[in-house]
Amino acid sequence: MKIGVPLPLEVVLPPLPASGPAEMVVDAPALGPQAGQVVTTTAVPFESVADTVRVVEAPVVISDPRRPLKVRVTVRGQQVLGTSAAVSPEHVGGRLVVAVSDDPTGLAALHRLPGRVAVAYVTAEALPRRWQEYAAVDLLVIRDLDPAALDAAQQQALLRWVRLGGRLLVVARSAAAAQSAETAGSPGGRGPALPAALDPLLPADVGPVRALPSAAGLAGHYGGTMPSGPLTVATLRPRAGAGHVDLSGVPVIASAGPGPGVGQVIIWGFDPWRPPLAEWSGRLRLWEEALGSEPAPRVDAEGLAARLAAGTPLDPAVHAQVLGAILLYVALLLGLRRWKPTVAGAAAALLIVLAALGAFPVLAGMVRDRSATLAQVTIIEPGGGAGSARATTVAAVAVPYGGRYRVTAAPAEMLAEPLTPASDLRVVLGRAGSELTGVLRSGDPPRPFLAVGAIPLSASAVLSRDGRSLAVDLGPLRASRVELRWRDRLYPLADLPAGRTLRDLRPDGWIAAASDGRPSSDWSARVRDVIFEGAGADAILKGATPVLAGELDGIAPVFTLGGAGAPGQRLTVLLVPLERR
């Protein structure tokens, strides 16, 4: 497992003693300034049926593995079950390889790879049903998978995760390959252990099984000493655009992007669990290549949250209202006392005091409501034409005078979590979305939240090979303040309408990003600066092609603050890596 990343928690509840509205509550300790006291509570409401086994799932973020996770179940408000689960330290890693394999051994050596690699062996049933719950996974290895064991939600989650940047390794085991040998040669032949829905992901079709006299060619490619002996492989037929490694002229490794999407899919035609590969001293380099380099985060969530927090000023109208009320009160009192300078006048002034005692608490309530604000920025990155886009929303809720807040993250597909450890924070996972409630004391800094999800959106931007023309398709949305960004240069494009737009680009139109002349007081510009100058900027700007960036209109807010009198600030940024054609 990984610290601070949502993990799928599946709890099998024994038969409960009563029927009715129930709730599973998970208390996850977090590291915070008040050690031992910071707990984030995740609650999943469900309808209990007496004497029936029930499986309840919840994504949980574990930030402090030293303390156990506590799980409680209440029915009609009464606690009926309670347990705790400790996290074993050896399961905590900096990078995580998850292997779907019947053999729960064989990858122990991976911990020698850089980045404190941890390995988890799971069954198909344990694979998540939300793609965001793969966030902790650096490489998913599928070795033994009964396609029928994956339900539609799991298939969809896996497909979406890979298309939005996940890394998948499929091991075409010889036995399975043998089964599929009947389909050898058929153009539509697919990997051995994946449901049909995932077939488009694969970089190669699987052909017949062959026994190669030696695997020494792999040692020549990856180093180390390969034990002698034959190697049984499933021959691969790489699809268009896929890279491959051949052994004795037979493709045994193929890798490519997942068709439409930005992830990486690798297929091995051999089983690294089996000899001679299991004893091969160079196998770590092969695994290191499969694992890839640690991806830099594309969104500097902490940096954005800090900038959002600085951008939540008090509503000036609030000041004006309070000033007006105070002036009116004092003026009425003094005016009455001046007009009627008698004991009766002084007594009448008490009526004004009474009226003010009734009105000022109402004014105070208005001030509180209008001062509690929510600022949020959503970064949308289309998944390479897959019809969906990754949406990452960072929000900061400020309750300047202290008090309870209730933030709703919708739709339910957006997985929301606190960005920093927070005491007294409760996340309720409902059908319509997540509701996050907590308390901020007066003077507490704004509380940041993060939501990650996918939204249906097809947007593309194609740059001609000579770099002089740009075709952008924004679908039904229009974008403002659009620009091309690449490294430290930008090309302003102003606003773009919905639908398809063609623009000619002038070579001298590129300017230094630092000299774009935007006023620094512009909140959205300052937030964008964090995106393009913060910790994740390199991942965005130093790609092979420029990225199109613009502010999108017409996207519904992800977070809403209950009872807020002020609308808050909101920005939706579209980031589309340009394709070159």
Partner: protein
């Protein structure tokens, strides 16, 4: 209202332009403090124990009301139409009526001013969700402290004939009470009116301060009564 001295003082104070100015200053200072303190203390560290704005409002109230109450009774602030206690000795009023009337008029004025400031205090407290109960206990403490120190002003008005001596004694007393008490051992530090107000705003009005200033007020009242009786006999 059967006390003629009380009736006369209240009538004089309600007509006095000087008291109107005092009220204007008092409400103006409180209003300005509440408005200028409106921006939330975003920069404050979480868990900071800095006093909040509502406590600052209470501080201003105790300082202003204590000064007003004692200065009016010590004749440092001359309220038009209000007779000094010494002058009333020659009127057909017993000393007890004079002292009782002056004491009550001072207390009524203090409570009235507290009421005038209450909405502003409630505004700042409600914005920050401070329990009203703690403010009530602080307001009660302010009334007792201001009345007790005001009684000293009453005493000085009969002890010192010269205005200069009276004013010096009054200011030395205020300095001793507001500044000198900060030098006391921590167990007695709550005798400082500002410290006592802070404690009362936290929900615990220090009993020692309430008892001390109530006792001080009663003691000064008795001393004034005795002094007036001797003056009347002379």
């Amino acid at each position: 209202m059967g006390n003629p001295v009380l009736r006369g003082d209240l009538r004089a104070r309600s007509r006095s332009p000087k008291v109107w100015v005092l009220e204007a200053v008092y409400l103006g200072v409180l209003g300005a403090l509440v408005f200028l303190g409106l921006p939330p203390e975003l920069g404050r560290l979480a868990g900071s124990r800095d006093p909040s704005l509502s406590v600052a409002v209470l501080w201003v109230q105790i300082v202003l009301l204590t000064y007003y109450a004692s200065a009016c009774l010590a004749q440092e602030i001359l309220v038009e139409g209000e007779k000094a206690a010494v002058d009333l000795v020659f009127a057909p009023f017993p000393a007890a009526v004079i002292v009782g009337g002056k004491s009550l008029s001072s207390l009524v004025t203090i409570l009235y001013w507290l009421l005038l400031g209450a909405p502003l205090l409630v505004l700042t407290a409600a914005i920050r969700q401070i329990p009203i109960g703690s403010l009530l206990s602080a307001a009660g403490l302010i009334a007792v402290v201001a009345w007790g120190i005001g009684q000293m002003g009453l005493l000085y008005s009969v002890l010192f004939e010269a205005e200069f001596s009276r004013t010096v004694a009054h200011w030395m007393t205020l300095l001793a009470i507001f500044a000198g008490t900060t030098l006391l051992p921590s167990s007695l530090r709550s005798l400082n009116p500002v410290e006592a107000t802070t404690a009362a705003a936290g929900g615990f009005p220090p009993a020692i301060a309430v008892a001390a200033y109530a006792g001080l007020g009663a003691f000064c009242g008795l001393w004034t009564w005795g002094r007036l009786r001797r003056l009347a006999a002379a």
